[in-house]
């Protein structure tokens, strides 16, 4: 019976963090196109959105996202700061979405994440040419962001709960 028990929140968060780190490292290993990004989702976007909703005012979330972004920049060979901007913008948009949602459910959380992912695509469109030149294509990033948004309901429990009691902007 113990095996069927729902894992604790801490365990789920640890799994979510592990997925986020793996989504940064795995595309950089020469393991073939299946592990490239896309089709591999940008799990750090899930983490940024979930941590923004649940980690109300702590400094750990932005610092962790910045470190993961720098690691992603290093492994991808791109300019330092590009993925930092994308992940932190997802975090900040997630904060705004958390404040705006009074009674979140799965659909509203999913919609909020889709908006967040699309905003990061727009930010990538603006920031990537600064470091990579104006010929850079944002289409693969948009493709990865769309895949990430589609898969969000499957992994939502790892990053956030839909209950209103944990959310900073929720009415109680």
């Amino acid at each position: 019976m113990n095996a069927l028990r729902v894992p604790s929140r801490g365990v789920l968060r640890a799994w979510g963090f592990a997925f986020a780190v793996l989504s940064v490292i795995l595309p950089a290993l020469p393991l073939g196109p299946v592990f490239a990004q896309p089709p591999l989702p940008l799990a750090v976007l899930w983490a940024a959105y979930g941590w923004a909703a649940e980690d109300e005012s702590g400094w750990r979330a932005p610092i962790t996202l910045a470190v993961l972004g720098l690691l992603h920049d290093q492994l991808a060979g791109g300019p330092y700061g590009l993925f930092v901007v994308l992940y932190l913008s997802a975090y900040l948009v997630g904060r705004i979405a958390a404040q705006a949602m009074s009674a979140p459910n799965l659909v509203s959380l999913w919609g909020g994440f889709i908006v967040t992912a699309l905003i990061t695509v727009g930010i990538a469109y603006l920031v990537a040419p600064l470091g990579l030149g104006r010929n850079v294509s944002v289409a693969p990033y948009a493709e990865a962001a769309i895949i990430t948004a589609i898969m969000f309901p499957l992994v939502r429990p790892l990053y956030m709960s839909a209950s209103a009691s944990l959310r900073p902007g929720a009415r109680r």
Partner: protein
């Protein structure tokens, strides 16, 4: 917790922004500035990137070891499963290949005779590169990201790798070394959007510039997540290019050596020519880095002539000093090339304009003799 909640929920002038959000905003602004600063390729960021590549490469080598080992294991296991049928298949193939080998040897011999008759220059692999002293390396990191297409190999300046060297594998060209650390080198792949390579058709000699794109075609069903083949721009004589023709580097511009196989020409529906890359036929594992220094930077090759600048003296004398060929020298014993051979060369070169008739008594100086690699090449 209650205090924090009230801080978030309080409206109006007393509302305060949580420190996490402030930190996030500050870090995001700092990251944008960092991205903008790096567009100038500062040495500090390059050094940090190279050091990071070295550490990440070492970690990647360790991390991929189990995957490589298990891949070998499963390949061996699969090979044992169908060993008997595979041996029979290979024996049949070997018998067929024996006949093809004899035919190929006869054709190669005949081809060599024709080339000697026409005085064709030898099309060698990587002409200009130091192929004999190539550096073997293993691929340890693949950018795999959505923006750039680069690879990291586990050979760096300690192994003799320098920026500008050429990375190839057994199938063909992979890219060019753009950054070198002590024990790692980052290679810009051919399909990166920054990559522009002068190429030519091997048979038609049609020149073009191959431009990488790092985008994907929309057909997710037939080519799921495969990179789009680089397109050919600035094609000179596109009507002569043939479907399936081998594309090799032309060596123009001095950035790449001549004659390295790049891929096969493919015509897309919209009239655009693309190159199916030879190196991407299978996952890239081991690479060979060819020492090649094409065109040196002006800073690295200072002009030794310390004469006055052009504007400081008579333009006539300055232009004359720069452009007039050296005076003809008297024929000597070291210039044994007879006049008859030179005229044969001119006759063998199918040009539209008639060859100028040189006075028979004057032998061209050795400095003006055509280079062996260019003489007799019809399209050049």
């Amino acid at each position: 917790m209650a205090r924090r909640r009230s801080g978030v929920r309080r409206a109006g002038a007393g509302r305060r922004i949580p420190p996490g959000v402030v930190l996030g905003i500050v870090l995001a602004i700092g990251a944008v500035i960092l991205v903008a600063v790096q567009s100038n390729n500062r040495p500090a960021t390059e050094a940090a990137q190279q050091a990071g590549d070295g550490a990440a490469g070492a970690a990647g080598q360790v991390a991929t070891r189990p995957a490589r080992a298990s891949g070998d294991f499963f390949a061996r296991l699969g090979g044992m499963w169908s060993a008997t049928s595979r041996i029979e298949e290979l024996e049949n193939e070997n018998r067929e290949l024996q006949a093809w080998r004899e035919l190929a040897e006869r054709l190669a011999e005949r081809n060599a005779r024709y080339e000697a008759l026409l005085r064709m220059p030898v099309d060698s692999f990587g002409e200009g590169a130091d192929v004999e002293n190539s550096i073997a390396a293993q691929l340890v990191l693949d950018s795999g990201g959505p923006f750039t297409r680069t690879l990291v190999a586990n050979a760096g300046s300690d192994h003799g790798v320098r920026v500008g060297y050429i990375a190839v594998n057994e199938n063909g060209l992979i890219g060019r070394v753009v950054s070198v650390g002590r024990r790692s080198a980052r290679v810009l792949m051919l399909d990166d959007y920054n990559s522009r390579i002068p190429v030519m058709g091997e048979a038609s000699r049609v020149r073009a510039v191959m431009a990488g794109q790092a985008t994907r075609p929309p057909d997710l069903y037939t080519h799921p997540f495969q990179m789009q083949a680089p397109r050919l721009d600035f094609i000179v004589g596109a009507q002569s290019l043939r479907e399936g023709e081998r594309i090799v580097t032309s060596g123009d511009g001095g950035l790449y050596p001549r004659g390295i196989p790049v891929g096969v020409a493919r015509s897309s529906g919209d009239g655009q020519w693309r190159v199916a890359l030879a190196a991407s036929q299978r996952p890239i594992d081991f690479v060979r880095i060819l020492p090649f220094v094409g065109v040196e930077r002006p800073e690295d090759a200072p002009v030794s002539d310390a004469g006055p600048p052009l504007a400081s003296s008579s333009s006539v004398s300055a232009v004359g000093r720069e452009t007039l060929p050296p005076p003809p020298t008297a024929p000597s014993a070291e210039a044994p090339r007879p006049r008859r051979v030179a005229s044969q060369d001119a006759a063998a070169t199918p040009t539209n304009s008639p060859a100028p008739a040189a006075p028979p008594a004057v032998t061209p100086p050795p400095a003006e003799a055509p280079a062996p690699s260019q003489a007799g090449t019809p399209q050049e």
